[in-house]
Amino acid sequence: MKRYRRLGTLVALGLAALLVLSGCRPAAEAPPPAGEAPAPKLRVGIVYDVGGRGDLSFNDMAYAGLERAQREFGDRIETRDLEPAAGGENREELLRLLASEGYDLIFGIGFLFTDSIERVAKEFPNVKFGLVDGFIADLGPQSNVVCLLFNEHEGSFLVGAAAALKSKTGKVGFVGGMRIPLIEKFEAGYIAGAKYVNPAIEVFSDYAGTTGEAFRDPVKGRELALSHYDRGADIIYHASGGTGIGVFEAAVEKNKLAIGVDADQSLTVKPDQRAHILTSMMKRVDVSVYETIKALVEQRFEGGYRNFGLADDGVGYAENQYNRDTIADIKPELERLKQKIVAGEIKVPSSRKELEAFLETLPTR
């Protein structure tokens, strides 16, 4: 019987080892090394954020950018995308793997990559890095890192205005994922937009949590949205990744509206949810990835910071065949607001502090 016991422990250890090993394996096979071609192809790699491909928003947008570049510069680049383990702890390892294999440009998708890219970029000065959503201080045009940042508050301002214009109850909601400055940027822009259009509007605002888990908790998303709808809100904007699935479910259940985020979510959700999505705040991660690859191919890659805002359509609100009629009546107003923001007449707040100052400038009714 002793023998059995040892055997059991071995089986357990074996299973555990198998898991660890399978976790370390990159998601895609290595492409065959470039042959003796006269002009070697540029190699571009992407490491996704937690959630990975198939999240129907953030990571899929990055992939779309990579795909577009592959289509257009097919003969001059070769691409590869990797997914980190479930907890994302091996993201730095994957970056290093690509860098040591001699990749020319490597993207880290998501602010969680900030520290890893800062470290790995120092170790591999000849490799270029693109960091989506993260900020590394003291970069210049000669740096090998470019931070791809978005003016999410500007896009959120427009969908906030859309919500306020469409709300019949005078109450709207916001459901955030993890409570971090990045998501508070969405919140601040949204509230500012709603109050700008209707200073009397009431905005309920909640977050699903304070860890990365808060981006994949549809149960909580649903409960938070239901609580907003129960209190009279009729439109809810979510900036919460997978948690937002629950927000859409709640909208269907209560026959109310919701606003999507990052991608044009009307196109990616279940058919029965489509009618309940007023619009989405588009964040064109695909454009940022594509533009960076394009710059590399055209040999004009520059380090530093690139901001994608309303002016260059890096953010905006989504219009598609499902919501075109619904938003037709407010579109002129949204376009007018957009022009004002682009022209600098409206300075959209990007944090809670700035929001407070912004609200004080609004006329009280």
């Binding site: 909640d206 149960v219 629950g246 959700v269």
Partner: protein, 310 residues
């Protein structure tokens, strides 16, 4: 005043019930496993399998198929725990942890195989919600009388049935005997291994059902990480419930209530972070305060081997 009333509103109550059910089902499962003397820390992993197979089954064959698939997956997965912990007598904690790790990797692997992406299944349709006639027409009662998931009454019925099985049936008596004193039970001819296996398999079926409730009824699809540690909360609920089904119901309801409260009572002038940790603080207080009086089955967690004894 309004905030005080919101503490006990029916909408809050309905939310609490929805959040109670997954914890309750898993805790009920844990009762059966531990009454038979096997600690099942792998509940979280079994729930993950339940969420995944619940979504897959529903995607291909509707919610009933999904529920059955989740229960079947829970049974199969818990059988692994049974094999390791009962037959091979691996440390039960380690075996449970293996289960939790295996579930994460396996669900991801299978999701890629079936749907081509790592972390999310396509959206699905759930059960047709129930409404209580008459009551649903009273506006004030509408939040609790309309749109009820059929799994909610099922879960409550299972608590009653579980209690009856443990207290009134021969099987229940034998299961408890095996958890208290396996040697004595063995001496009078009870098959210790069979009883323990049944306890573990029942816990797997119930934890699988808990997962199915999450993915079919609440998430309308599988999403990696959607169990959010509820399997562990269920273990706490089972302990707080003193290893009895009805106790587990009370404990789960308490957690469900505070969970719902933390999501709903934003109007109160309390820091947001505090509300967020409230369910966990309650868990800790409850475990520290009440559990001293709780008494686990005497042979809980101790592997049984025939020849080494006596």
């Amino acid at each position: 005043m309004e905030t005080l009333a919101s503490l006990f509103s029916l909408a809050l109550l309905a939310s609490a019930v929805r959040l109670t059910v997954p914890v309750l089902l898993a805790a009920l499962g844990a009762v059966f496993s531990e009454r038979g003397g096997v600690i099942n820390i792998g509940l979280e992993g079994i729930m993950i399998m339940g969420t995944f197979f619940g979504a897959v089954g529903t995607y291909y064959g509707g919610p009933v198929v999904g529920l059955l698939a989740a229960v079947a997956a829970g049974v199969v997965f818990s059988a692994v725990h049974g094999l390791l912990a009962i037959t091979l007598r691996v440390d039960q904690i380690i075996s449970g942890v293996v289960l939790n790790m295996l579930a994460v990797g396996l669900a991801r692997f299978l999701n890629i195989m079936l749907f081509g992406v790592a972390t999310q299944s396509p959206g699905i349709r759930g059960f047709t919600p129930l409404s209580i006639p008459v009551l649903r027409d009273i506006p004030a009662l509408k939040p609790i009388a309309a749109g009820i998931s059929p799994l909610i009454p099922l879960a409550l019925a299972l608590v009653v049935a579980g209690h009856w099985v443990l207290v009134r049936t021969t099987f229940g008596l034998r299961l408890r005997a095996v958890g208290e004193n396996p040697l004595a039970a063995d001496t009078v001819g009870v098959n210790v291994f069979l009883m323990r296996y049944l306890g573990v398999l029942i816990s797997g079926a119930l934890a699988g059902m808990a997962g199915a409730y999450l993915s079919i009824e609440q998430g309308r699809g599988y999403l990696e990480g959607m169990t959010q540690g509820r399997g562990f909360i269920a273990l706490a609920a089972m302990i707080f419930g003193n290893w009895w089904p009805v106790g587990a119901l009370g404990a789960s309801a308490l957690f469900g209530y505070f969970d719902a409260l933390s999501l709903r009572v934003v109007a109160l002038n309390v820091p947001y972070q505090f509300l967020n940790v409230l369910p966990h603080i309650v868990t800790i207080l409850v475990l520290a305060g009440f559990v001293r009086r709780a008494r686990p089955p005497a042979a809980d967690g101790i592997p049984y081997a025939k020849e080494e004894q006596g």
